[in-house]
Symmetry: C2
Subunit: 281 residues, 2 copies
């Protein structure tokens, strides 16, 4: 396994794999890898002869008051995990390798990215689509892997790939959860003491919504109320949003008549946690 | 030569050329081909084993009050010209092939695109970068060819390719002029009667600026004044801008100390004409 710091080194390794007739998978990450990432890596290794994992804490997707500087960085542990999983190249560039000082071009999805997390993080998805476009152009993979935990991100990336005719297949893998239901996230590291035991309120709220939905409830306000009650029971939890949207357009709905995405963002202490589930009527 | 209406057909033809070991050149155009386009096509045919010319009047680069509907369309004459020049594929999609109804992703260059033509055409370059990114992703050429007549466009495209790590070489070809100095443009077709004889005022203004510059003038206000006087002599000419900018950053300068781009946009009757030259101190 190579740990490449430059685009050139990465491209060279991929070109050799291509010459050997191998298909290429890309798993874009910000590092601090957990079992959710590992599920993406394993799928890529199963699907492709050659797997690249990018590890890059991307400054353009963080807002000015967000956790860019304190975001966990642990390249050695990540590399060990990748090696065991059969990764061929880790692409771990420094910020200046990705963004020259006079960088001035962005990719922006203008509809799906505006609601949900886009409302509280207005420049986030522009940063995500821009860096993913760069990574796709550097690695030129056959397939790229994303987690359903970031459901809106997956939808935005799929839309970008469709709209800009990017020749890649986007594979979205299911949410991986802790034993207590908490969706795996690198930001879970921020949760100390009591907060750790309060964070599973999100997945419990989703479970409760699924139960009520299965019993016939189709009214979104009623489902939201059920979920908010579960979250309110956690003393350090503060709702950012509890929404039910059309799974295709990500537009809010009032009654569930088509496949819906239930998406939550909740501050547990200072840590913003997201989770979601899909409801099929 | 194939005239392909779909992305799929185009990709298939390019894939076959790739399999045969050929390099691929792309000449993106809006059709109504003239000798300027032909110079790009000839260069591509000389540089590459396989040349694709795209002919697409791109709606997203026209403003609401601009000439999208009346822009000249003449696919048969264009095809004849391409066939003679040795083109392998014309990609001539309908708008819905490029932009589905729920299209929502744009590529935007945020610095070089803001001055000059970007000031009077605020959404123009976003449309250009978006469609060029799509064309590059559809054709995946080794080289793509643009004309220096649209100097700002060439700078914006080069910046986009650098910033987003697009694996393509951008080749910029010199301006081709009529005998009277008028820079070739599909929009010259709009010029009737007197306007035709007034339009060369732009190139005369540039020639005059070059002469004064060669004689030692470095003050931009003085050069602007010289050019505006030449243009003012044409009764139906109305200046949009007469600017001298740094050739690398496209920022306005007051004295010429580094390579500068002199750029003009002038309405001749209702037709907006642009032209430019480079000054090397």
């Amino acid at each position: 396994m190579i740990v490449a710091k430059t685009r050139e080194e990465t491209r060279k390794a991929v070109a050799e794999a291509r010459k050997a007739g191998k298909s290429v998978g890309l798993v874009p990450t910000m590092g601090a890898l957990h079992a959710g990432h590992v599920s993406l890596v394993k799928q890529s290794v199963a699907d492709n002869g050659f797997t690249v994992v990018s590890i890059f804490v991307n400054p353009t997707q963080f807002g000015p008051s967000e956790d860019f500087t304190k975001y966990p960085r642990q390249l050695e542990a990540d590399a060990e995990l990748c090696r065991k999983a059969g990764v061929d190249v880790i692409f771990a560039p420094a910020p200046h390798e990705m963004y020259p000082e006079d960088f001035s071009t962005y990719v922006e999805e203008t509809r799906l990215s505006k609601g949900l997390c886009g409302r509280s993080r207005p420049t986030h998805f522009r940063g995500v689509t821009t860096v993913v476009m760069k990574l796709l152009n550097i690695v030129m993979p056959d397939r790229a892997y994303f987690g359903q935990k970031d459901a809106q991100q997956a939808a935005v990336i799929k839309r970008m790939v469709r709209d800009l005719d990017v020749p890649v297949e986007i594979v979205v893998m299911p949410i991986v959860r802790e034993g207590d239901g908490l969706a795996m996230s690198s930001r879970n590291k921020y949760l100390a003491g009591d907060l750790q035991s309060e964070a599973p309120a999100l997945s419990r709220a989703l479970e409760e919504a699924k139960r009520v939905f299965a019993a016939g409830e189709r009214d979104v306000a009623a489902l939201q109320s059920v979920m908010k009650n579960v979250i309110a029971a956690a003393p350090h939890a503060k709702v950012d949003y509890v929404e039910v949207v059309d799974a295709a357009t990500l537009e809010p709905v009032k009654k569930i008549a088509r496949t819906a995405l239930v998406a939550l963002a909740v501050f547990v202490g200072d840590t913003r946690i997201i989770d979601n589930t899909v409801l099929e009527p």
